[in-house]
């Protein structure tokens, strides 16, 4: 009898094993199938709001898509994929697939967003996963939202799986969205193919990506330094930071500017491209010359001057010896560790990462300054597409492509600039991104009032459900942010909920910085090439980028003489650079001529 049992056991073991393997495989293939969130009880905010607006949908108003003006009579599903940012925080028990916003949109608009897969978006994981999806020819979800490099967007468009959204936009986009898009005549340029608009822009606050100079104000005051007007002034400041022991620890362990150009000389933080701008070019992008033709900034003669200045900065210790092996974030750590006294970045740096500086160096003070001018009085800084921050593509086979626009419209109308007394006046949901104190005032500080923000252990950050939205931050009206900041900076009283919130949340240094950015908005140098990769770029980009980055680094580190620049440029031109320049100008002619 014993043997039978053993045999039975081994067989059932095998069976169990293969079953569980199959289950694993199934899970992997199916991605993260959303848990049945519909059946969950207690969708607090959603349920309440639903009860409030409890009018029965009259069938007369329902259009051919099943929309009654406020809601889909029969809920529709939008499938998508998601890269979860590091600034997304969740209450315990909530996930990307099951949260207060997801429920709200399902209950109130009848739009159920489901995820084919979700990935934590560190080290470009989302981009990599999208590209792998493309390379394996996987079926795309209804909607893909992407924020990042244009190349990935172009690859998605070229996959041929997405639709021309032009008609949808004209028909379904709300007023606010249309006005925002119209602010910039070039908005559609990057995604236009044969006159067809292939992706919807995600709008963002204009001028939010513009650069300014941040200095350690406590060091400036201690050493009695004045605001730098020119690069020469700035060099004097850096010299003082390096040699006059601004942190007062008796050691020469401080440097001037925090920067990191391991990946690019056109960084989004710890930026160094502004120094090239001071000589009249910007590296890594296509600038427009006096003759109207586009040329690549990295091989411009002005870049040579910038490099030779950078080399002297490295020799004198103004920038870290490790700048060439640091990226934007690790470069910024030089500043937030209290080692460097300057960094070039965007107006919102006080929100992140300057919080780390205050943790590491108690009592540190920082202040924004205009970017200094070069020897000929030139100032130049990068600017993104002024009001676009991301793109949304809709699958050709999507059943309800217009649902995305309705989703976005909803946030434009109710969230982007809410009226006093309206639903989202204080934030998305009580107990998440806001709470009411007993005396009726609104708080957004979970560290101070932990009881008002239940089910949430991490007290240092606010849970902001709006980030869970398909459209990144719900919706943003491009001009609103800058207008409000200017109003606040010039002493205006905040009136609308948005203005009050901004005044409450934004640090004074941030508001001041935005004013500097707008005062200096003429220094913006646009990247004029917004098209898909050209044929030669596809083949030669790797080689050409390597040529440039290697020569740049070696010149700055003194491993090659400065004249290596000319050799590199000659090499660049004959290895395909000339060809690419022609192609880029052809694109520009055809795109702007139309």
């Amino acid at each position: 009898m014993v043997f039978r049992w053993q045999r039975m056991l081994s067989v059932s073991l095998v069976a169990a094993l293969s079953l569980s393997l199959a289950a694993c495989a199934g899970n992997n293939n199916g991605g993260n199938e959303p848990a049945n969130n519909g059946g969950n009880s207690g969708g607090n905010a959603g349920a309440e709001a639903n009860a409030g607006s409890g009018e029965a949908a009259s069938n007369a108003n329902v259009d051919e898509t099943g929309w009654d003006g406020k809601k889909y009579a029969e809920p529709v599903t939008l499938t998508t994929v998601k890269g979860v940012g590091t600034n997304y925080y969740f209450k315990s028990g909530e996930t990307m697939e099951n949260n207060v916003l997801q429920k709200y949109m399902k209950d109130n608009l009848g739009i159920d967003v489901k995820y084919d897969w979700i990935v934590t978006d560190t080290n470009d994981a989302y981009k990599t996963k999208l590209r792998l999806m493309l390379s394996s020819g996987e079926k795309m979800p209804d909607v893909i939202t992407y924020r990042g490099d244009m190349e990935t967007v172009n690859m998605l468009i070229d996959s041929g799986q997405f639709m021309d959204v032009g008609e949808l936009f004209d028909k379904y986009a709300g007023e606010a969205y249309k006005t925002g898009v119209a602010l910039n005549p070039d908005t559609w340029l990057p995604v236009t193919r044969d006159g067809q608009r292939m992706a919807l822009p995600v709008l963002d606050y204009a001028y939010n990506d513009d650069m300014l100079l941040w200095l350690r104000q406590d060091w400036m005051d201690k050493l009695g330094l004045q605001a730098p007007k020119t690069v020469a002034d700035f060099e004097a400041i850096m010299d003082a930071f390096v040699n006059k022991d601004p942190d007062g620890n008796g050691k020469s362990d401080t440097i001037g500017l925090a920067t990191g150009f391991k990946n690019t000389y056109l960084g989004w933080m710890s930026d160094i491209s502004w120094l090239f701008g001071a000589y009249g070019t910007l590296p890594g992008q296509w600038n427009k010359g006096a003759d109207g033709a586009l040329s690549y900034g990295s091989v411009d003669p002005a870049a040579k001057q910038a490099l030779s200045t950078l080399k002297t900065w490295m020799d004198k210790g103004y920038i870290s010896k490790d700048s060439g092996i640091k990226d934007e974030v690790s470069g910024s750590e030089l500043f937030t560790k209290g080692q460097a006294g300057a960094i070039v970045g965007r107006n919102w740096l006080p929100d992140w990462p300057f919080g780390d500086l205050l943790n590491n160096v108690p009592g540190a003070k920082y202040k924004g300054y205009p970017l200094p001018a070069g020897p000929d009085g030139k100032i130049g800084a990068q600017s993104g597409n002024p009001s676009v921050n991301g793109w949304m593509l809709i699958n050709k086979d999507a059943k309800n492509p217009e649902a995305l626009l309705r989703y976005y419209n909803f946030f434009f109308e109710n969230w982007a600039n809410p009226q006093a007394g309206s639903e989202f006046e204080n934030g998305f949901a009580e107990g998440y991104d806001w709470a009411k104190l007993p005396d009726g005032t609104i708080t957004k500080d979970p560290a101070k009032d932990p009881d008002l923000f239940p089910d949430y252990a991490d007290r240092t950050h606010l849970v902001e459900p709006i980030y869970y939205s398909l459209t990144f931050e719900g919706a943003r009206i491009p001009s609103l942010y800058a207008d409000t900041m200017i109003k606040l900076a010039s002493g205006g009283t905040p009136e609308t909920p948005y203005e009050k919130q901004t005044a409450g949340v934004r640090k004074p240094e941030n508001i001041e910085a935005m004013k500097i950015v707008l005062d200096q908005k003429d220094i913006r140098m646009k990247n004029y090439f917004q098209g898909p990769l050209t044929e030669t770029m596809k083949q030669k980009n790797e080689l050409l980028n390597k040529l440039i980055n290697q020569a740049y680094s070696k010149i700055i580190y003194g491993q090659s003489p400065i004249d290596e620049f000319d050799t590199m440029v000659a090499n660049w031109k004959k290895s395909g650079g000339d060809q690419i320049t022609t192609e880029v100008n052809e694109w520009f002619q055809s795109a702007s001529g139309k």
């Binding site: 067989v11 010896k321 060439g324 092996i325 790797e542 680094s553």
Partner: protein
């Protein structure tokens, strides 16, 4: 006890060759069944994707699919050999991988010999576990740690400065130092694993050989020289032969987490190069072509190495 009952019970008393073959299967089918998931997985993830190699000979466009893409013959291979950087990248790869292979044979071998002489088994085991630990740490972490340690104001340079008065060395910004760092850190990470292999082999050496040597008056050193090392030779040759196949694998995750434009000329390897062209610039076909090239070179080297091993050590793996 249970085992013997099973075997007995599962062996039916029958005669004849045919019946024997049949009974063998009947006896062992649960074992075969247990093997099945592994076979299926291997087929699904090991063999089926091999079909994708065909894109190396096509101009692969993801949306056209593997079959819809145009044939281009050997175009991508031609492009690879005409690419100006190819030679340098291949040399870098072979050099770095070569040094890694040699060091990853010698270091664990010597270390295992030394560890084997340690009398106290608690010390032996602790050391063995400690050196094995780094094997489990991902290069993403190790890369970050090394970046900090080797920075111009990092711990290594601080020590060099305060003890020897040396100027800071840019370990990760200088091609030659970069190669050294890559090889040394790789050996440090990997040698615990190799040590275990050799220790296992050492445990298998026939004790009577040592006894005989002792009777003949051999010293400890002579025993090592004439008993231990010859006994380990076959396993060294096997490990070396198999490692030859990796001559063009210099370790993507390690280099990727450590390199930067300053060391492109001496540190850029085939895999990082393929990553930049293949994934970042979407040249999937080209990436696959390079992959095939690597595999073919690796395969040829293994075959040659195997032949040599057979001749020298009379060792057969297959």
């Amino acid at each position: 006890m249970g085992m013997s009952t099973t075997t007995e019970a599962l062996t039916p008393v029958r005669s004849g060759v045919k019946a024997k073959a049949g009974s063998f299967l009947r006896r062992t089918w649960p074992l075969h069944l247990m093997l099945l998931p592994a076979v299926i997985l291997q087929f699904l993830f090991g063999y089926l994707p091999l079909g994708g190699l065909v894109i190396a000979f096509k101009d692969f466009k993801p949306y056209d699919g593997i079959w819809g893409s145009k044939w281009v013959g050997l175009e991508h291979f031609k492009f690879m050999f005409e690419y100006p950087d190819s030679k340098q990248v291949i040399i870098n790869t072979a050099l770095i991988a070569g040094f890694k292979i040699v060091c990853s044979i010698i270091v664990p071998f010597v270390f295992a010999l030394l560890l084997n002489e340690v009398r106290r088994s608690s010390v032996k085991r602790t050391v063995q576990t400690l050196v094995y630990l780094p094997y489990f740490i991902s290069w993403v972490f190790l890369g970050g740690i090394l970046n900090d340690m080797l920075a111009s104001d990092g711990i290594v340079n601080s020590v060099l400065k305060s003890w020897f008065g040396l100027e800071p060395i840019l370990f990760l910004g200088d091609g030659t130092w970069f190669r050294i760092v890559v090889v040394v850190s790789d050996v440090w990470q990997q040698f615990g694993f190799g040590t275990i292999v050799y220790l296992a082999a050492l445990a298998g050496v026939n004790p009577s050989l040592y006894e005989a040597a002792e009777v003949d008056g051999a010293t400890r050193w002579q025993q090592t020289l004439h008993v231990t090392i010859p006994s380990l030779a076959p396993i060294v040759i096997v490990v070396g032969t198999l490692a030859l196949g990796n001559i063009l694998n210099a370790g993507f995750d390690q280099i990727f987490n450590l390199y930067n434009p300053l060391v492109y000329d001496k540190g850029d390897i085939i895999d990082t190069f393929v990553y930049r062209t293949g994934i970042l610039n979407g040249q999937y076909s080209f990436g696959t072509a390079v992959g095939i090239f690597k595999s073919v070179v690796g395969f040829v080297l293994i075959v040659i190495g195997y032949r040599i091993a057979y001749k020298l050590a009379d060792y057969k793996i297959f």
